[in-house]
Structure formats: structure tokens, C-alpha cells
Amino acid sequence: MIHKTVFEISQPGQHAYSLPKDYEAFTQFKPDEKLLRKDHIGLPEISELNLTRHFCELAACNVGIDNQFYPLGSCTMKLNPRINEWCASLPGFTRTHPLAPQDTIQGNLQVIVELIDILCKITGMSAGSLLPCAGAQGEYTGIKMIAEYHKKNGDTKRTKVLIPDDAHGTNPATAAMAGFTTVSIRTSSTGNLDIDHLKEMVSDRTAALMLTNPNTLGLFSTNITEIAKVVHEHGGLLYYDGANLNAIMNIVKPASMGFDVMHINLHKTFSTPHGGGGPGSGPVLCNEKLKKYLPIPRVEKIENHYKIIWDDIASIGRICSFHGNFGIYLRAYLYAKLHGHYGLRRIAEHAVLNANYLKALIGKYFTVPFPQPCMHEFVIQADCYLDQGVRAIDIAKRMLDYGVYAPTIYFPLIIKECMLIEPTESESKATLDRFIEIIEKIIDEIKENPELVQRAPFDKCVLRLDEVQAAKHPILKHSLT
């Protein structure tokens, strides 16, 4: 079925809106002619019923965790509990203006202070900020704090940030945005950071090493203390990319591992909904050394009262318009309180159990580059099917036909025909068993009828889409012609 865009279903004169009563006292005011818009506004005209139907049709062509198993590695697609949604829609929260007088929003300030406390306890850090609106912005904030630290120490030579070659793209992009040059550190054949290469590349020009542990291959760096020592000895600092916190939450603290500053992805570890790509929230947490550089505004608790600190001369300054994605971290707060630290630890235990179980069952169908036990996610390679003309992307697309969202493919970039699978702790054994059955069916198809896999999917709103055409001849909006 072809879905028309909302512009294409526009009907002259139709509308959904209603406006409050007007008065002559208002309408007597005419705006200055010279300022008025002359250009036509190319928006559609559509009734409320047709608008409702349009979006219901679009929803029918989309899937979320509520609908399907979503083993996307690196994304932590766990259940988005509805109680979080209930909480975030309470009018007592949604109606508060970011510049509201402090005595009128003490509830908001309490949530901010208490959530930072909870996150500090989990991570072993001393202080934090909920201002960053996403993980990438958390990374940027942390790296800028590191830059400020070195600057205040008179250490102006530190222009490099070391990043493993299996790191998420936001890491080098963040370092560049913060004014640093990046140095890539190799991953060894065992899947861990090549510490010899690290020792070779670290110097007094190193500002920081950005690392995630477990790494993007789902493996824990057992020698993390040694890695931290190498960097610290040369005067560099350690940044922890908290994307994989789900694997170790309340099992081991990033601060104990030697990290100085980090971010958490609340839309991963703390179940806030992905919303088709956002909004998220990427709180930054740090140790005593870096605490004074945290961005503003901050919130302090003084006896039973909460106070906003609008300015601090040592701070790196502002990183967003107001207080960050409050509506998102409000959800994370309730999620954390429901679990308690006890329940948060169980999350990590079950995330790792589910991943290892799945890996044990799926291993026989693919190349397993790192046979050792994994953490919350693992990597397999579909290169064994290249001879039959089938690639990882084909297998991923065929999974869509079986009602399962495909795992992450071709990331990390260093592994050929890679699939990164993360079941999360939410999923039941039955779902994982069913996933294996689906894999088995697809593997049979590769043998008997490879075209079914090569040209998949067939059961979605569209067949495989031409990405080359989209990039060569970009059509990025509805045109009137």
C-alpha cells in the first residue's frame, strides 16, 4: 500500500485546530504591514480525523520493543515501562517553566539531586550533571572538562585523545568537536585493547583515553587497572563511555576501574524510550579532581531545601539551553527508585546471562571471533555465507520478515560481516529460543533458496530500498511541484 504524505492528503479548508475566544480589545491591534510575511506557507490542511488516521497508518508501518524482540547490539533495547510514561506526564512536572521561581519547583530540584546521587553511587563518582541531552553531548561535556583540567594545570601540550579502533563513532567525532586530534589504538586478536600499542602511543601530549568497558565487542578488559595506570602515569585522564553500563551496573564501579569522568545513556541503561531516535539523556559523572568543571546550572541541597547554582567561575559553562532533557531523566529517576540498587544489580546479572545463553546457542551457525564468555552483548560474523552470495545485511533483512528486529550490523567496523547482538535482561528464555529457531530457518533458506535471503524483506510495507539513489539525488522534503 502506498502511503501518501500528509501534504498529499491536504484538502482545501479542512482543519483540526480550534482557538480560544477573541475580543475586539485584542483584534483592534494590527501588526506592522512592513513586517508581515508575504511568502505562502506550504503547510497542509487536514481534519482531526484524517490526521489521526494518517499517523495510525504510519504507526502500523513501524515497530518498537513493545511489538518485537529487538536484539540491537550497543543500543540496550529493554522494556520501556509505562509507569515511567505516567510519571513524566504528571501536570505538576510538565507545566513547570525552566525559569520558574525556585520555591515553586522544589520537586523538580529534588529529582535532580537524588538522581545524581543514585548515579554516583552506581559509578563510584563524586559528582555529576544531568544537563547533557544525549550520550554524545555527555562525551563532549566530559572531554571539555578534561581539556579545562589540563589547561588549568598549565598543561597546554596535551592535544591528543586516544581512542580504540572499535569505538563508537561519537568518540572521535566528540574529540574533534572539542578541538583535539584523535589517535587510534588497535584492538588485539583476542578482542581487547592492545596494551602494547597503547604504551607506544601514549605520551605527555595525551589528554585522555576514551574507553568503554565492556568494549563494543561485548568483552570486559580484565587488565583495565593496568590500562588506567599507563595513561595516568603519563598525566592523561580516563574517559568512560557508559553505553555498556547495563553489563556491569552495581557489579563493578567505573571509578574503581580508574576512570575519571564518564557519561551514562539513560535511554539505554535506564529504559527511557528510544522514540525513533531520541530524545535521550547523557548525564556526566566525575571524580573529585574534575568536579569543579561540571557545567552549570547545578542544584545543591541545603538542609531540606534545594537551590540552583546558576554560575560558577570554574565551570566549563553551559552546554544546553536550560536544564537538559528533564522529562527524560525524570523517567530514569522512577526506574531507578523502583529497582533500588538491589534490582539494578539484577539487571546486569540477567543481561549477561541472556547474552551468554544466546551466544552458546547461536555459535554453531556463525563464525564466533571471540569464543570466551561475553558480557551483555556479543559479536558473530556472517562471513561463512559469503560463498553462497549472502551477507550480514541480507540475513538481517530476512529477520524482519520473521517478526524480529535485526541486530546491529557492520559495527564495530573492524569485524568483517559483523553482527552485534544484545538481548537485554527484559527478554525471556522463550523469546531467545524462538530467535534461535528463526536463525535456523534462515540458515536453511541460505542453503535451499538463497534468493529469499538476498532480496529480503518481503513482508514489510516496502521491499529493499535504494539507498544509493537517495544519496545521489536527495529529495529531502515534500515539493509543491
Binding site: A173, F322, Y342, Y357, L476
Partner: protein
């Protein structure tokens, strides 16, 4: 409580498959000395206890009891009921970034429509799929302009830009040692055009103006952009998108890049976020846009579909050479803005913008007629203006609170020369009765002040 599905029966079976007798074994790779101690007591809450907790916390917020005239970059507007309903649908709310395009046509088409709607409002050629907020959108626009003009390292910015946005721009640009020059504004809140023209020269990569500016004033934007064009300088306009329902579009004003925050459409105040940054540009600049972009294409049978496109600009491909480090954006909030924009539609947007202006004009003219109230001047405005009651902001605030009103933002906190001035925003949510109450409160404040002085 937790949301873990597997219980003892399933756990035992899984451990058996793995040939281990406890979950702890799975953490053997972590050095023993780093491990936390296992927790003995369940410190979690049941669902009902969780709800009770949140109700206790939210009860401490008393802001909802006040009629608010706060603006300064976050505006109270009616949020159509349809918005919440659509945004809470499982298929949108709990879906991931639409990288698997065939399974995500719903979200991709919605984003395409968002891009189209923002282009329609601003008059520009291309929009991205959203940035975090208006402040970071300004910063990204300037970084974009600097990439497009690698031989220039200076930008010129209106001194009347939102101070929070200013702070964020300074943050981003400090990493690149970019020189920033600020255009001063006159007492009436309007940019000093002569200084603007002097500062904008061939060494400037871009000029950034706000529309309306932080003081609520409409500047002579076209005069600045025309001068910028003559010096080969890119013009960036940051605007509340509602202004485009009444006043000239960014395109008409000569913008090369138009940015801002779509919060006024479909997003409740939520103590500052999530909001939605938008960034648009003319066709020629498209490849330097940061963030995700959705494009139209066809499938194997020629049927129309949508995909994320021009991805080579982004961090997951370009890494340290990406246009931005942004990955997660404000997708669902952008959907909320889209639904609201469509709910108003072509005609509704115009009527909404007009009534916002007229209600503001009503309050402004009534207050200006009160003896003792001083205005900033006669500059044109849209939905916000500043006045002085001749006393400190704290006095004004305390007095208006007795009427159940939050009178506006303390302008003196941002600009010392405006000490005592209150920045007042009026939207369609204010009816005549409420506006007249504000006027009454103002009159009483002034008459009490006069009495005291006698």
C-alpha cells in the same frame, strides 16, 4: 520490583546450557578486587509505592498554581490532545533509530514530514531531522558556516541573543579559537545597524541574529543580511518558529541558515526539555548540515519509500571528520511538534501567530497606559516585551504572587542595564480575564508605590 522476565525455572535451565552453576561465574573476567559486594536487602519499590513517591515529590511543585507570563525561550502554548496520543503509540515511542528502513517506514515518513513542515515554515530548502535545542542549533549553524569558509575564523553575533544560547555558542566555538564579535543594541532593544555593518566584513564567516531577539524586539534583519551578502558572509537567523506564521520568513529575510527551537509547537514546558532544535539551509549548503536527514527513494519494485540518507556526513561513518558528533537527536519530540503544526495547519498557524501577537499587544498597550510604568521603547514585537515598574524585580514578583501570577522574567539578571525590567510573554493561553487581572495587579503595585513615596 524489576522487569526481568526469567525466573528460577528458566534461570536454572539457562545455567545448565552454559554448564555453570551460578550467574556469578559469568563475571569471572572482572578482577576480584574491583567487584562490588553483593547487596542483601531489596531496596526497591512496588509500582504503587513508586507512584506514591512521585505524587509526594510532584506535590512540592507549586508552580502550577500560578498564571505564568514567563517566556525567554520557553513558551506556554496549548498542546493538542492528539499529540500525546500519537507520541505514546508503542510503534513510535518504543522504536529505535530507523536504520533498518524497511521496518521503519512510519517513523521515516514522519521525520520526512517534519523536515517538510519546518521548510514550509522557514521558507528554506532543506531541514534536518532535529538537534537537541535552539542553543545547540545556533552553535551547530556557526560551526557549519566555519566549515564552509575554512579560510575565515570570525563570527559576528547579535548582543541581544538569548544569554543561555550565547553561553552555549561560546562553549562550542571556544574549542576552535574562533573570534566572536558582538553587535551592541540600543536602549530600545534594537541592534545598532551601523556597528553591525562595520563588524561584518570579508573576514567574517557568518552573522547570527535572533528573531524576535531575547528582549522581544524585532530587529531590522533584512538590512543586516543584505550587508552580509555583499561581503560574502553567511546569515544565520535563530527564530521561534511561530513568528513565521505572522512575520517574514527566514527566506524572505535573506537567511542562508535558519535555526531555532520548535518547543512552542506540541511540547509542554517540562522544566526545560526535551525541546527540539531545528536547522535548515539553502540547497547549496546541504552537505554540511549536521545530524540525521531522511530522504525519499524507491524500493525494488519502484514503490516510494524513505531512508536515512547523506549518512557519510555523520559520526558513525565520518568519525573525527563528521559534521557533528550528534547521534541520538530529539526524534519523538520532533514528532510531537509535527503533529501540533499539522493540527493548526496552513490557516491555523496564521491565526495562532496573530492572536499571540494581539494578546501581547493588548497587555503591552494597557500597561504602557499605567502611570509609572516605563517601556523599553517603540520597537516592533511579537509575543514578548519588557517593562519597568520602577521598583526591584523582587518587589514586583512578591506583589504579583499575591494575585497568583508569575509576572515575567527578571531581565536585570541577564543585562545589568535593564535592572528592574520584567520580560513578559503572552500566548493564546491567556484570556481577557487573566490579562485584565495582570493589569489590575500592576495598577495596585504602582498606586501602593506612589502612596509610599508621598
Amino acid at each position: 520490583m524489576d522487569f526481568i522476565s526469567n525466573q528460577k525455572v528458566q534461570i536454572d535451565a539457562m545455567l545448565a546450557t552454559l554448564n555453570i552453576n551460578s550467574i556469578e561465574k559469568l563475571f569471572d573476567c572482572i578482577p576480584k578486587e574491583l567487584l562490588n559486594e553483593k547487596l542483601q536487602e531489596d531496596d526497591g519499590l512496588s509500582e504503587s509505592e513508586g507512584m506514591l513517591l512521585m505524587q509526594e515529590i510532584v506535590a512540592k511543585n507549586t508552580f502550577g498554581n500560578l498564571t505564568s507570563y514567563l517566556g525567554a525561550g520557553a513558551y506556554e502554548h496549548h498542546v493538542p490532545a492528539l499529540v500525546g496520543f500519537i507520541c505514546s503509540k508503542s510503534e513510535f515511542l518504543t522504536s529505535y533509530t530507523p536504520y533498518q528502513a524497511e521496518a521503519s517506514q512510519g517513523m521515516l515518513q514522519a521525520i520526512f514530514e517534519f523536515q517538510s513542515a519546518i521548510c514550509a515554515l522557514t521558507g528554506m530548502d532543506v531541514s534536518n531531522a532535529s538537534l537537541y535545542d535552539g542553543a545547540t542549533a545556533c552553535a551547530e549553524a556557526l560551526l557549519m558556516a566555519l566549515r564552509l569558509n575554512k579560510d575565515k575564523n570570525k563570527v559576528v553575533i547579535a548582543g541581544s541573543l538569548h544569554p543561555n544560547y550565547r553561553a552555549v555558542v561560546e562553549q562550542f566555538l571556544s574549542s576552535h579559537q574562533t573570534k566572536i564579535e558582538w553587535i551592541p543594541f540600543d536602549n530600545d532593544g534594537k541592534l545598532n545597524l551601523n556597528t553591525a555593518k562595520r563588524l561584518i566584513d570579508e573576514n567574517t564567516a557568518a552573522v547570527l541574529l535572533q528573531y524576535p531577539n531575547f528582549l522581544g524586539v524585532i530587529d531590522d534583519i533584512a538590512a543586516v543580511t543584505a550587508h552580509a551578502k555583499s561581503c560574502n558572509v553567511l546569515s544565520v537567523i535563530c527564530a521561534n518558529p511561530l513568528v513565521y506564521g505572522l512575520y517574514a520568513s527566514a527566506k524572505e529575510l535573506g537567511a542562508d541558515i535558519a535555526v531555532g527551537d520548535t518547543q512552542p509547537f506540541g511540547l509542554p514546558l517540562q522544566y526545560g526539555g526535551p525541546y527540539v532544535g531545528y536547522i535548515t539551509c539553502s540547497k547549496e549548503l546541504m552537505r554540511q548540515l549536521p545530524g540525521r536527514i531522511v530522504g525519499e527513494t524507491v524500493d525494488l519494485e519502484g514503490k516510494r519509500g524513505f531512508v536515512l540518507t547523506l549518512q557519510a556526513r555523520e559520526q558513525h561513518i565520518r568519525r573525527e571528520k563528521a559534521t557533528s558528533n550528534i547521534c541520538t537527536n530529539q526524534a519523538l519530540a520532533a514528532l510531537a511538534s509535527l503533529v501540533a503544526i499539522l493540527w493548526y495547519g496552513k490557516e491555523g498557524i496564521k491565526k495562532l501567530a496573530l492572536t499571540n501577537y494581539q494578546r501581547t499587544a493588548y497587555l503591552k498597550s494597557q500597561l504602557e497606559a499605567v502611570n509609572g510604568i516605563q517601556t523599553m521603547g517603540n520597537a516592533p514585537f511579537f509575543n514578548e516585551f519588557a517593562i519597568s515598574f520602577g521598583c526591584s524585580f523582587n518587589e514586583v514578583d512578591a506583589h504579583f504572587r499575591t494575585y497568583g501570577i508569575s509576572p515575567g522574567v527578571d531581565l536585570g539578571q541577564y543585562f545589568p542595564q535593564y535592572k528592574g525590567m520584567v520580560l513578559i510573554a503572552v500566548t493564546e493561553t491567556k484570556n481577557k480575564k487573566q490579562l485584565d487581572k495582570y493589569i489590575e495587579a500592576a495598577k495596585t503595585l504602582l498606586s501602593q508605590k506612589t502612596k509610599r513615596e508621598k
